[in-house]
């Protein structure tokens, strides 16, 4: 059968099935394959908190979105193709399928029982309710069993390969090569080649099947990203943070110590760094989050870049120790991969609602630097930046990452080592001039002198300290002075970070002001608005405390400021407090990233009102 091959600027797919259906894997493979062809890719995994919920349930659905194209910033608003391995995964995801989009279903997942669990009254594959879409339904399980006949493996194990059948179909539809996945399977199952082999067979079978299914009317190719020369890889924000720490350690020649307690969605940073033993990274899986940060504080006193990683509930637990680290003035990087709160919330879904806690959450007068990466690459950059600030200013730095960029993948152009920032970190060793709390005149930082240095023996602590000596002091004026020093230190950082930059005009009617992990959606929305000629500007913050020095000026340049956040207005509140100007809020706490289109619609409605 010969079909028209259509080139697309951008495609969005979603692989959806039960938690045990291997959808995360399938999605990852698809994105790796397209990426290796030079296409820009952005992905987003969406899975339940439970490991393997009962089969076929709505809450057990696990999905993986892939957005691929010339230049993509998000995992996409609406899908062109939905692969639904069962009825529940169809139900949960259909909302976001484009009209006219393709649905591939595995009919084995549409038994009466599963239809019931999915709360379908009638079978959507048969009742015509999917007539707006291109439905390609088939019983993948049967095809798999047909294909793999003389295997020593049990039927159950064989049926588990069905995700590769679906993947093979997707590869056919998008004219993609099978060899990357084939190689990967061989590598992965090198100790059990039979498993590798049947998966590969099934992958090809899916491909072949698609070729012969006449319901597939077209195939597609995806426009290449015009990649700059260089090396590329797929990476999640969590991986990028781990990489950034190794890079910071190598550049500065200062070792990294991670003290951490597992918590979703931050744990991958611990996993990755635990693998990096050969790069000199020490990881300590502590008994709890308090011990996580405390062990890092101990290591920092010992001359290490102390790092701790966590998510919301863990950040809440670290509050007291953060206060200690700031009082002891030790360099520490505190990484919070935000998730839906409060309390246990929805552990696997993204939100930006820990900003208040990061900004204000310590007893006493206790300001701390707060940074937030915007993309996977930015995770790499900003964690190095956090190390730079922590060590230069002798201060704990909070890095607010988020579920979206942390777990989704993006294509990373691997930076040239020569382009990486210099990190000139030094220990103090001079006996003659040393005083534990003698401060640098510019940074207000104190010297980092570490045990093992002869003659510099000194004591630090959480009691208010006397200026210079660091001895305990309950002197009234001294406390006032030290409180001010600690605040000035944070303010001083403003002189040492890049100005905020604005997409679009520097002044105007409307500024979109974002921060952190929403960048992709906001930038996509702004790109669209801009290309349609709407007069709107966009500024995205990576530094939240202190703010870039030019932020006040930027804000004054606009009649209205819209602050979209995945929370109820936390940055908005801080902006109001710091700059005493009002801002418009746009808030979403639905445990998912903004869709670009939602931002666009919001902006358009504001612009319209302005035009009335």
């Amino acid at each position: 059968m010969d079909r028209p091959k259509i080139e697309l600027d951008e495609v969005t797919l979603r692989f959806a099935g039960d938690s045990g259906d291997g959808m995360q894997l399938t999605g990852t493979q698809f994105s790796h394959t397209v990426a290796q062809l030079g296409v820009d890719v952005n992905t987003f995994p969406d899975y339940p908190a439970e490991i393997r919920s009962p089969e076929g349930t709505l809450y057990g659905v696990s999905s993986y979105s892939v957005n691929a194209g010339a230049k993509v910033h998000t995992s996409g608003d609406y899908y062109d193709l939905l692969i639904a391995m069962n009825a529940s995964s169809l139900k949960v995801n259909l909302n976001y399928l484009k009209k006219g989009g393709i649905i591939i279903t595995n009919n084995a997942g549409f038994s009466d029982k599963i239809l019931g669990l999915a709360k379908y009254e009638s079978n959507p594959l048969e009742d015509g309710s999917l007539s707006d879409y291109k439905l390609i339904d088939l019983n993948i399980n049967d095809y798999v069993k047909q294909k793999i006949t003389n295997s020593s493996l049990s039927v159950k194990v064989i049926e588990k390969t069905k995700n590769f059948f679906a993947l093979g179909m997707a590869y056919f539809i998008y004219n993609l090569p099978l060899n990357y996945t084939e190689e990967w399977l061989k590598q992965k199952f090198k100790s059990n080649l039979e498993i590798a082999d049947i998966n590969i067979q099934v992958l090809y079978a899916g491909y072949e099947y698609a070729k012969n299914d006449e319901r597939i009317k077209n195939t597609y190719t995806i426009k290449n990203a015009k990649l700059k020369p260089g090396y590329y890889r797929n990476i999640t924000g969590n991986e990028a943070i781990a990489m950034g720490l190794v890079a910071a350690s190598k550049i500065s020649k200062v070792p990294v110590f991670l003290g951490s307690y597992p918590i979703t969605p931050a744990t991958e940073i611990l996993h990755k760094l635990s693998e990096y033993k050969s790069y000199g990274i020490k990881t300590f899986q502590a008994e709890d989050e308090i011990a996580g940060i405390c062990s890092a504080i101990g290591a920092a006193y010992g001359g290490y870049i102390g790092v701790t990683t966590t998510s919301g509930p863990g950040l809440s637990l670290k509050v007291e120790a953060m206060g200690y680290a700031l009082m002891a003035e030790l360099p520490l990087v505190i990484i919070d991969v935000q998730r839906v709160g409060p309390s246990t919330g929805i552990p696997t879904k993204p939100e930006q609602s820990d900003l208040n806690l990061a900004f204000y959450g310590r007893h006493g007068e206790a300001p701390l630097p707060v940074l937030a990466p915007s993309t996977a690459y930015s995770c790499f950059e900003m964690v190095i930046e956090a190390v730079r600030i922590a060590t230069k200013y002798m201060v704990p730095v909070i890095l607010l990452s988020g579920g979206y960029i942390a777990q989704g993948t993006q294509v990373l152009k691997i930076p040239e080592v020569s382009d990486l920032p210099k990190l000139d970190i030094n220990y103090y060793t001079d006996k003659e001039t040393y005083a534990p709390y003698k401060r640098d005149k510019v940074t207000f930082s104190r010297p980092w002198a570490i045990p093992g240095t002869p003659g510099l023996e000194h004591r630090i602590g959480g009691l208010e300290k006397e200026d210079m000596t660091g001895n305990q002091s309950s002197n009234a004026q001294n406390h006032q002075k030290m409180v001010e020093f600690r605040a000035k230190k944070i303010e001083a950082i403003a002189n040492d970070i890049p100005d905020a930059s604005v997409y679009g005009e520097e002044t105007g009617d409307l500024l979109i002001l974002g921060w952190g992990s929403t960048f992709g959606s906001l930038k996509t929305a702004w790109d669209h608005l801009n290309s349609k000629g709407h007069k709107v500007s966009f500024c995205h913050l990576h530094y939240l405390n202190p703010f870039p020095k030019n932020l006040g000026k930027i804000l004054k340049g606009f009649k209205q400021i819209l602050v979209p956040e995945s929370n109820m207005g936390q940055l908005a509140g801080i902006i109001r407090s710091k700059f005493i100007i009002d801002v418009l809020q746009f808030n979403l706490v639905e445990g998912r990233p903004f869709k670009a289109i939602e931002i666009e619609d919001k902006v358009l409605s504001i612009l319209e009102k302005g035009n009335n």
Binding site: K228, Y232, N234, K282, K413, I414
Partner: protein, 350 residues
């Protein structure tokens, strides 16, 4: 890869291997109450440390909060006065980061066993090479006299005006139950045992836990009278010595023997008894250690002091660092950052 730190880790010509007890004083006024038992402990620590061959700048004291936890301020070594209950968590990070350091944690019965209980049992379990000196005065002193997890049932304190209703921990049993490799007890006034135990703890690889009975003159004066008083202590305590029979009493006339697997007191000079019936202490015997520790709140038996257990177990710091060293060897002395950043799964754009 050579870290900047490595220069500091190495001994230098200025390293101070030789120093006096006096040089171990920080020069800050010691702010404990006159008569506080803590003085005796700091004196012994300052006496023992110079004999160990550890350069002064390699010693770090890490404490939490409490009267006893002010300890580091008074030592002329490196020191951290940290957060209530968190000293062992911080010290664990420090020791794993810096195995070259001699890390000491002076702590209180509240700091170590109440708010700090979790870090304590995990440090014991991991057998990380830290020396813990727990000043047990059976009271929260710095907060002016509330009962602690070692206070006795019925004890009247500010927060137990009708008497304590909790059962106390037996700290040595808790340490043993948590897997600690070195567990000992001493009394502030018995400086001989105290000095001995401190020295042994310093030399022990892995966690060393020393409980010291300490008199708080202000809020719990006299609780340990039986064990502190020169005369009474002869009857009320028994000193554990490796390979020696368990005997005590003013005239060394009493011993501890087994009845079944239960320890009982017997009079050495009575009837058919002889010193040979006495249990011979063995620091390497974990079961015996627990049995002896279990004597603690048994009023029919003397209170053991000395070393309950001193066994060799893999230490966290050694094993973890060995693992890193092995891993490092695989990639050679250094690594190429570019290769690292690229990873295995990269591709080229042109």
């Amino acid at each position: 890869m050579k870290y900047k730190l490595d220069e500091i880790v190495d001994y230098k010509s200025e390293s101070s291997f030789e120093y006096t007890s006096k040089e171990l004083k920080s020069g800050s006024d010691v702010r404990w109450c006159a008569g506080c038992g803590d003085f005796s402990i700091i004196n012994q620590v300052q006496k023992v440390l110079p004999t160990l061959g550890i350069p002064k700048e390699k010693i770090t004291f890490v404490s939490g909060i409490g009267c006893s936890s002010r300890f580091p301020y008074y030592m002329g070594t490196y020191g951290m006065h940290t957060i209530h209950g968190r000293a062992l968590a911080i010290a664990s990070g420090l020791k794993f980061a810096r195995p070259d350091l001699s890390v000491w944690v002076p702590t209180g019965d509240g700091d170590c066993l109440s708010i700090g209980g979790n870090h304590f049992i995990h440090a014991c379990r991991r057998n990380i090479d830290i020396n813990v000196i727990m000043f047990n005065n059976e009271i929260y002193s710095l907060t002016k006299g509330q009962y602690s997890p070692t206070s006795k049932p019925g004890q009247v304190t500010k927060s137990s005006p009708f008497g304590v209703v909790d059962n106390p921990f037996n700290p040595s049993s808790l340490a043993l139950g948590s897997g600690a490799s070195f567990v000992a007890r001493a009394v502030d006034m018995d400086i001989k045992t105290l000095a001995n135990v401190l020295e042994r703890a310093a030399k022990h690889k892995g966690i060393s836990f020393i409980e010291v009975y300490t008199n708080c003159v202000i809020f719990n004066n006299g609780v340990f009278e039986n064990f502190r008083d020169k005369k009474l202590s002869k009857e009320y305590t028994i000193t554990l010595e490796h390979n020696k029979p368990l005997v005590f009493g003013a005239e060394n006339d009493k011993g501890i023997k087994f009845e079944g697997h239960k320890p009982v007191v017997f009079n050495i000079n009575e009837g058919n008894n002889s010193i040979n019936d006495a249990i011979v202490h063995n620091e390497k015997d974990s079961t015996l250690a627990f049995i002896l520790s279990n004597m603690t709140y048994n009023s029919d038996l003397p209170r053991p002091v000395g070393i309950f257990q001193a066994i060799e177990l893999p230490t966290y710091d050694e094993v973890a660092i060995e693992q890193i060293n092995v891993a490092k060897k695989k990639i050679g002395d250094d690594f190429d950052l570019e290769t690292f950043l690229r990873g295995d799964d990269y591709w080229q754009g042109q």
